[in-house]
């Protein structure tokens, strides 16, 4: 899929762990792991909003479009 999830990069920059972020955005660590590893098919606006709020970033920092992949 040409949509790349850069959640791991942003999390590393903010020095926040998977379990901590999962607790703050109120989703399970398993689901956050699915998102982080790029296995997710879709992301709800509510989840994206919560992640952006907690990581203090823009949706574009987390999601990236790369053509030809």
């Amino acid at each position: 899929m040409p949509i790349i999830v850069n959640l791991d990069v942003v999390m590393a920059k903010r020095k926040i762990g998977l379990n901590e972020l999962a607790g703050k955005v109120d989703i399970t660590p398993a689901n956050l792991s699915v998102l982080k590893t790029g296995k997710a098919r879709a992301i709800r606006f509510g989840t994206l909003e919560a992640i952006c709020r907690e990581l203090d970033c823009q949706p574009g920092d987390i999601l990236e479009f790369r053509s030809g992949e």
Binding site: I27, K39, A40, R41, A42
Partner: protein, 183 residues
Amino acid sequence: MKPANAEKLARVLKWIVTIAFILLLALLFYVPWLTGIRMMLSWTYVIKTQFSFGAVLSAWTVLFDAADPWRTVLAWFLLVCGVCGAVILWQGRIVLSNLAEGRLFARSNGKAVVRAGVFCFIIAAAAAVRLVANLVLSKSAAPLVTYSTFFIPVFVIAGLLLFVAGALFARAAELKEENDLVI
């Protein structure tokens, strides 16, 4: 988590289906012998003289007995129906096992239902073969009004319905997998 009513019901049904499956397998052994009962005098006679292991075992020769083609055709038909019935019951058991464990949208449910549909078609085909054989043997239209003629449309319709149900199960499993990946 407390099991839902449907899961409890599925667990009970699974046991009933398992018992029916075991009974059907046991009955299969007696099929060739059962085809000869109508020729015997009474049930007392049957139980006293014919219900021995040797008699039941020797009755299996009826499957290749050219001297009594009616009985041979009936024995093959009942045997095919019995085996197919056992496979259908086992597929039902697979679906009920999944339901009892709360896996409503498992892919194996769809596959099991489609497999049951295939075996319904085999029963319908066996009934059609028996009908043709009986028509040839009797040289009349009398076999057209027997239960095996009735089997053909019933099992074809059942098979088609199971195919549709199997496709619905497969689609539901796909949608669930998709939904599980929406975060």
